[in-house]
């Protein structure tokens, strides 16, 4: 029938196209990789990635968790995890991740000056991402959480083509322009065959510290509606709370410093 003929053509085309792509190979010692992405900038990917990594470790102290900051242009993880300094090299010439709160971290931020911009084209970025994935002595990890940069380009493609990813968490604020980008982010993962675990609605509501009045600064429930459209779960709903920003800026993420708070 014509449909099986079409399928045969599609399969052949996919095989030919995939010949030029890098072969997907797991990182030695790493059991599961979870990426935190969004499409839109400034919605809380790094904040969420850091707190997810800490929560995974806090929930089960037998699990080893690593955190990779793949945002080459704007690495936030060093500041949020209160880590600084150049990584040491092991005898095998691998970079040793820096550790804080029990989490092994690697970031572009450890390799450059804090204020030095990284003004690189895609090809150099690809090679930097490869190094951050493969030339790090991660050891035995149950989970590696990867904080992605905004957008749907080189870094996202490089990571998903290079290593098998257990799932992606997409973070968004309820704002329309953020949802538009989150939708694109979800579609990107579909294109590269990475399962999307669900959406996180961040900055959902602000409560006035004086009168307790609640305002939905970025809109109400936009992410829940998008989740319904895309048939995805809402993994979390996080309020816009001054503590979350303060604790991240000071390198003591809220999961560690205020585990009992609403956030």
């Amino acid at each position: 029938s014509s449909s099986s003929g079409d399928e045969a053509v599609r399969d052949k085309r996919a095989r030919i196209l995939s010949r030029g792509l890098p072969k997907q190979k797991p990182i030695e010692g790493v059991k599961q990789v979870v990426v935190v992405a969004s499409g839109k900038g400034g919605v809380g990917k790094s904040t969420t990635a850091v707190n997810i990594a800490l929560a995974l470790a806090a929930n089960d102290s037998t699990k080893e968790v690593g955190l990779l900051d793949a945002d080459i242009y704007g690495p936030s993880i060093p500041k949020m995890m209160n880590l600084k300094g150049n990584p040491e090299l092991t005898p095998k010439n691998l970079m040793r991740p820096l550790k804080n709160y029990g989490i092994a971290c690697m970031s572009m931020g450890f390799l450059i000056e804090e204020t030095a911009p990284v003004v690189w084209r895609g090809l150099m970025v690809m090679s930097a991402v490869e190094k951050l994935l493969r030339q790090v002595d991660w050891g035995q990890l149950d989970y590696l959480v990867i904080d992605m940069p905004p957008g749907t380009g080189d870094v996202q493609l490089s990571v998903s083509q290079n290593i098998p990813i257990a799932g992606a968490v997409i973070v968004s604020t309820p704002q329309d322009v953020a949802l538009l980008d989150a939708h694109k982010g979800a579609e990107m993962f579909r294109k590269v065959h990475v399962p999307v675990l669900g959406l996180v609605q961040n900055m959902s509501v602000f409560q006035c510290p004086k009168c307790k009045h609640e305002t939905h600064i970025f809109g109400a429930d936009g992410v829940r509606d998008l989740a319904k459209t895309l048939e995805l779960d809402i993994l979390g709903d996080i309020p816009l709370h001054v503590n979350i920003r303060e604790t991240c800026d000071s390198g003591q993420p809220v999961v560690i410093s205020q585990p009992q708070s609403d956030a």
């Binding site: 499409g39 900038g41 400034g42 242009y73 690189w120 895609g122 905004p150 080189d154 294109k191």
Partner: protein, 161 residues
């Protein structure tokens, strides 16, 4: 030297809006700035080079518009209450507004060069260029393509965080 009549020859001042960090309000500021300049009687255009997350069409409620060709290239979409601000964005070239643009650098660079040289802007007092977060291909290509036209400068947007 530049050929006599390039598409940017009629543009008086080019302004870039940058930030490094995402989500700080670049697109919002670019849009408001364009509208403010328009109220002051200036002729304004907006070039949205955020290929992965083009927000400006939606902010100006023209996400369903299409782009047409003319002799000198692409005709920008006219927006605003008096249809007097011109806008070019990849958002107009997508089949559906939520289609993802998952491109590597070289492809992005090619489109940005086209956006800079092949859009028939006509005579403008200001062309505002809204950029994506980061300091990557889009930024390098945009600045390189605009360099012969001597942009006025860049506005940096940030939040206090």
């Amino acid at each position: 030297t530049l050929p006599e009549r390039t598409n940017l020859a009629g543009v008086q001042h080019i302004l870039l809006v940058l930030s490094g960090k995402g989500g700080v309000g670049k697109s919002t500021l670019s849009t408001e700035l364009a509208l403010a300049l328009r109220s002051a009687g200036k002729r304004v255009g907006i070039l949205d080079v955020d290929l992965c997350g083009p927000s400006i069409p939606r902010m100006l409620r023209v996400q369903d518009s299409a782009v047409h060709q003319c002799d000198s290239g692409w005709v920008p979409v006219f927006v605003g209450q008096d249809k007097a601000i011109s806008l070019m964005s990849i958002g107009f070239l997508l089949e559906r507004p939520d289609d993802a643009v998952v491109w590597r650098g070289p492809k992005k660079n090619a489109l940005i060069k086209q956006f800079v040289t092949d859009v028939a802007w006509g005579d403008l007092d200001f062309l505002i260029v809204d950029t994506p977060p980061g300091t990557s291909d889009e930024h390098i290509s945009t600045v390189e393509a605009l360099r012969p036209y001597k942009p006025l400068g860049a506005i940096l947007v940030t939040t206090p965080q």
